[in-house]
């Protein structure tokens, strides 16, 4: 019978580092999925995930077992992604002149007939990635967690370590920031 998660964690804490490997195998797909929401280059994504695991190993003694290990780990993953965003703020203030032809077509379709521009189009996904990349780290994190992952303000406060009022303020500012970026994007193209 395979050892349980709690047994693996207890073994790691006793000094058996090898017991950490099954945890890495089990949860890496979720950590990679989270990292891919915040970074684009595969090398950066791998660096983030590796850092998450190294941090998890170092801080394992702070895991009290009150919440599932996965929640504890994902909180660490989101915080590491946020640190990554703060460390890579360059290239945020660029124009939208580089948007591709399909993206431009999608925008034109939206301008002409908003109802006919499909949300599941690849161009729309590329556009939102472009917009998210231009947001400040705080705004991006809030938009990602609140709007895209549909998490509650309380959940976000727990994940980020921010207070509930701070999350609300940052959410308000993030929406405004996103609207400004969209205004600039459409201004560059259609005005």
């Amino acid at each position: 019978m395979e050892p349980s998660e709690a047994e693996l964690i207890a073994a790691v804490l006793k000094g058996d580092s090898a017991s950490f490997e099954p945890l890495v195998v089990k949860y890496s797909p979720r950590v990679f999925a989270t990292a891919r929401r915040y970074a684009r280059r595969e090398s950066e994504i791998e660096d983030i995930v590796q850092e998450v695991w190294l941090k998890a190993f170092d801080k394992l003694k702070t895991f009290r077992g009150e919440a599932p290990f996965e929640h504890w780990l994902m909180r660490m993953a989101v915080r590491t992604c946020y640190d990554f965003l703060r460390g890579h703020q360059r290239n945020r203030v660029s124009s939208f002149s580089e948007i591709s032809e399909p993206e431009e077509d999608w925008l034109e379709r939206f301008v002409a007939e908003p109802g006919n521009a499909a949300e599941d189009a690849d161009a729309a996904k590329l556009l939102i990635d472009r917009v998210l990349e231009k947001l400040s780290p705080e705004a991006r994190l809030v938009i990602q967690l609140l709007e895209i992952e549909d998490r509650s303000v309380k959940e976000i406060a727990e994940i980020t370590g921010w207070s509930v009022p701070l999350v609300k303020v940052r959410a308000f500012r993030a929406r405004g920031e996103m609207r400004k970026i969209l205004a600039r994007m459409t201004q560059d193209k259609y005005l």
Binding site: E21, F110, E119, A121, D150, L182
Partner: protein, 102 residues
């Protein structure tokens, strides 16, 4: 153009994007190797930190003793130097008057 509507559409597009859970081949081995390498490095760090701390303490003690000896008030000069004191001490027994002889 309605910006809130565009925002809503693009957020909906982002929601539809399934997160990619692909893990590179043998990624867990890489993490474990990194942990093992760090553990080895940690031993060296432990020793080097310990030795540096010991060296720093020795320097501190030496400086302290130097300062104490420098600022200590000098004993009044009796006019004799160290060699004279040493000689007196060494020959003290010879200088004592022999009381055993009648």
């Amino acid at each position: 153009m309605s910006l809130p509507e565009l925002q809503k559409k693009l957020v909906a597009a982002a929601r539809l994007k399934a997160p990619d859970e692909r893990v590179p081949y043998a990624f867990e081995k890489r993490v474990m190797a990194q942990l093992a390498a760090r553990a080895g490095a940690d031993d060296w760090v432990f020793w080097s930190r310990g030795l540096w701390r010991a060296a720093a303490s020795c320097v501190a003690v030496a400086l302290l003793l130097g300062a104490v000896s420098l600022f200590q008030p000098k004993a009044p000069d009796s006019g004799k130097d160290l060699s004279q004191d040493f000689e007196n001490t060494l020959l003290a027994s010879a200088d004592l008057p022999d009381n055993s002889t009648p």
